[in-house]
């Protein structure tokens, strides 16, 4: 197996061999640049080309808001399959995921890497659909396409087409392919513990019997004017009071000033506890390092070193940390070393197995790491 990251917009950049899989990340404006994409895919031979848009790309140990990053991978003993499904609205998320899962399902299916439209999607339902279709034992990771702080247009690249409202996934088959994962957020809860007193699905209506938006705005202060974008900087930690150790981070996606409600990237069960979070740079950077370390620890039994790394981090981290966001990628790179081809993007939702349970789910506000290797 080999892996190489190249500048996808550089027509002279080449892979060492014909790749089996090329994963491309770039800004929406460049992903919709049809000549550019055609020029890129033409250099990929019969490789499966998959990708998505983002406001910021992980390009080696640094970041780039403008680059088109292409990670080429060649396998020797691993079969790949591409599946693509339309995802026209959030409420079709489960169905789309289910179709993907079924399409890829196979006795030799080892893992799935999925990229989905980042807007109008219910990431949790999508994950649940894929697991229903492909089976609970299949490792699943990926992310929702991004568009920086704009939240305007996200794209999925699949089979040479730049799609809106779609989900694309790669199935990895065989007994030789290896994928390892790690994720970490390290956002810090602050303020009193509150109770979700009214909610419907992902819509949070009241916290401690107060209108949720008013309470949230008080916390975000002057940044309330920039909601919902500024909400990325203040996720909520929620948990079932019966399982206080099993906590989930939820990112704000939308607000409704008329009704005083907030909509998050995932369900907000009524009766659960909730606490506002904030990011402290050093903690977030440590979190990225932790995620990488967790993933690399999982590769100890492979017998080979991982060849490629897909680092998918949350756009909230990027917006919060600004120029210091580089440091979390540098931290990941420092853990992985320079031999692993590292590419990735800042997403509207990360998908990876939970560190503790291995059960795939939608994460918010995390750095997620997917390491790929192939045994002899």
């Amino acid at each position: 197996m080999w892996s190489k990251r190249i500048d996808g917009s550089d027509a002279s950049a080449t892979f060492p061999a014909t790749p089996d899989l090329v994963i491309v990340f770039g800004p929406t404006s460049r992903m919709t640049d049809q000549p550019l994409i055609e020029q890129l895919t033409s250099r990929c031979g019969n490789a499966i080309v998959i990708g998505c848009s983002s406001g910021t790309m992980v390009d080696g140990d640094g970041l780039d808001d403008d680059a088109v990053v292409a990670l080429g991978v060649g396998f020797e003993r691993t079969r790949l399959t591409l599946a693509v499904q339309p995802l026209p609205s959030a409420d079709t998320s489960f169905a789309a995921g289910l179709a993907i899962g079924k399409e890829l399902a196979d006795d030799s299916l080892s893992a799935i890497f999925v990229l989905s439209n980042g807007l109008n999607v219910n990431g949790s339902a999508l994950v649940a659909g894929i697991r229903s279709g492909a089976g609970d034992s299949v490792a699943l990771s990926g992310g929702l396409a991004g568009d920086g702080a704009r939240f305007g247009d996200t794209r999925i690249l699949a089979g040479g087409d730049c799609l809106t409202n779609a989900v694309a996934a790669i199935g990895f088959y065989g007994t030789h392919v290896r994928l390892a994962h790690g994720s970490a957020g390290e956002w810090q809860p602050f303020g009193p513990v509150r109770t979700i007193s009214a909610a419907d699905g992902a819509e949070l209506r009241r916290l401690d019997d107060e209108p949720a938006l008013a309470l949230y705005e008080r916390y975000v202060g002057e940044e309330a004017a920039d909601l919902p974008a500024s909400g990325l900087l203040y996720p909520l930690e929620i948990w079932d009071p019966a399982k206080p150790d099993d906590r989930v981070v939820r990112t704000l996606l939308a607000i409704d000033r008329d009704h005083g409600t907030l909509t998050f990237a995932g369900d907000m069960p009524q009766g659960w506890k909730a606490r506002l979070m904030r990011g402290i740079f050093d903690e977030l950077i440590d979190g990225a390092s932790t995620a990488a370390q967790h993933a690399i620890d999982r590769t100890a039994s492979w017998g080979v070193a991982p060849s490629a790394c897909l680092a998918i981090s949350c756009v909230g981290r990027r917006l919060l940390m600004g120029q210091r966001t580089d440091e979390e990628i540098a931290a990941v790179s420092a853990v992985l070393g320079s031999d692993i081809a590292l590419a990735g993007f800042y997403s509207y939702g990360e998908i990876a197995p939970q560190n503790a349970t291995g059960v795939p789910c939608l994460h918010n506000q995390t750095m997620t790491i997917t390491l790929i290797g192939e045994c002899a």
């Binding site: 602050f190 303020g191 916390y219 940044e223 904030r278 740079f281 600004g322 210091r324 540098a330």
Partner: protein
Amino acid sequence: MSVSASPVPTEPPRLHPIAARQARRTRLPDGGVDIDRLLALVSETYTETDIDRRRTDRANRLMAEELEAALSRSALQNLRFKAALDNMNQGLALFDAAGLLVLTNQRFLDIYGLHDARPGLTLAQILASSPCLLLATPIEHRRLITEYRAVASACGARIEQCWPDGRTITIERTRLADGGDLYTVADVTAARTASAQIAHLARHDALTNLPNRTLLHERLAEIVRNARRGDRCAMLGLDLDRFKLVNDTLGHPVGDALLVAVAERLVKLVRPHDVIARLGGDEFSILIQHVTSDEAVEQLCQRIIDTLTQPFEIAGHHIQIGASIGVAMVEVDALDPDTLLRDADLALYRAKRSGRGNYRFYTPDMHAFATRRRQLEIELRRALKSNELRVHYQPQVDIATHTVIGFEALVRWYHPERGIIPPGDFIGVCEEIGLIGTVGELVLTQACRDAALWPDSIKIAVNLSALQFKSGTLPAMVARALAASGLDPTRLELEITEGAMLEDTSSVIEQLQQLKQQGVLISLDDFGTGYSSLSHIRNFPFDRVKIDQSFVRDLGTNSDSLAIVRAVTGLCSSLGITSIAEGVETLDQLNILIAEKCDSAQGYYYSRPVPLAETLPFVARMLAVKNKAA
């Protein structure tokens, strides 16, 4: 002085990682730096840092506000808790699992007389420092503390302690989930005192504080339970003589004070384990335990009578009463409380009937007598309904002219089985059972109706019972009888005894005067047998005085009787009152009465009482005799 500059080694500056990245990013292909781009990045860093600082500040400020609000809520909550705890009626002390005090409320400190109780003290230390418990002896103190610690931890279990300072305290311990203990302590002294007072009131007479009938019965039941063979007890039933007169003449407050004084005297006469109970009115019972001899009881009875006969000084009044006592004795192992009380009552009845101021022991014939009397009552009530009571008339004759001047009405009971029963055998019962009013009216009405058939010169005399004056309606009743019969009031003579004058004299005199105003004649019956008080004759203008038959019977054989008859006739003569002798049976007696200037006479010498039908023939016969003599 000169300064020489020496060359300084130059090294690349150690850049902050951000600055290093910015330097890399703005490096131009020619090795130079894009200054504008670099400045933009640096400026952006400052901006980001400012934003981050503001976010941090805001977060800190929000946290401070939240903390302050939480602390404020917590302080308010604590204040409320403290106010609630301190205003509980119960004392409360909370100990942790190690047995150390966590908190108490003010009430707990108050109950134990403590100024404060520091958290961290043990229960034993707190109890040991309580001045309330220190009053106890060392042994008692240990017991109180041991009891306290042993309070069962089961929810709701509690103990009650009597403290050396006289208070009654309940203590309840609840085991808490964290292994600690919650003690709740309540001062229930007032409640217990009130309960004791209620229990006392239920068993004692409120006026004299003597045991009442309930407690007497309880004591009797106790004696029965603890009966020992051969042990005897006595029940004394006691009534005050002339108590009613005191109540009626001096008022109830004086009567009540007299009862209290009587109770005080009685208490001094018996032993502590004997029971004196007031059963109501002037009725007392005295239970004497462990009686050694009848004589001892007799002596006690006499002492009681003597003591109560001593005058009482109440509210400036000199009050003389007496007492009658009935005694029932019983072997304790055969004691039936109801029977004992009943027997004492029967003996008392006998004591009162046989003249007041004495005592009588119960004998079985008293029960038989009472049984007969009850039977008589039943028969009397039936007799009234079935007209078995009829009026007979005994003529009264003017001694000088041998003329019939009137008849005395005398009731007879025509008993279907026992024949004719004289009034002496049932009038007393009528008085006791409250029938005398009915019987009296029946006789008066009948007598007036019958008398209306006689010649105008003939009067009718009707006896009145002292009890007929009680209701105050006698004048009205007489008026009804006169109206119904059409009899001239001046032909009706009502006979009253001295006894009737003794009780509530003013009311009796007032009614007599009303009767006089109606025109009715009033005579004083049985004069000489009772008090023979001249004041009675002086207090009311009697029309006639009747000399009792007991004196008349002895005329010729007993000089005392003659002296009395002479004195009465003389008195009447000098006061202008006519006199009549009753019970005249012989000519000798009549002759003496003639000699003593007695005005008139009645008795078997002339005629026994006869039915109405025989009255007018008797009048005619007497007229014939008179004419024959003339």
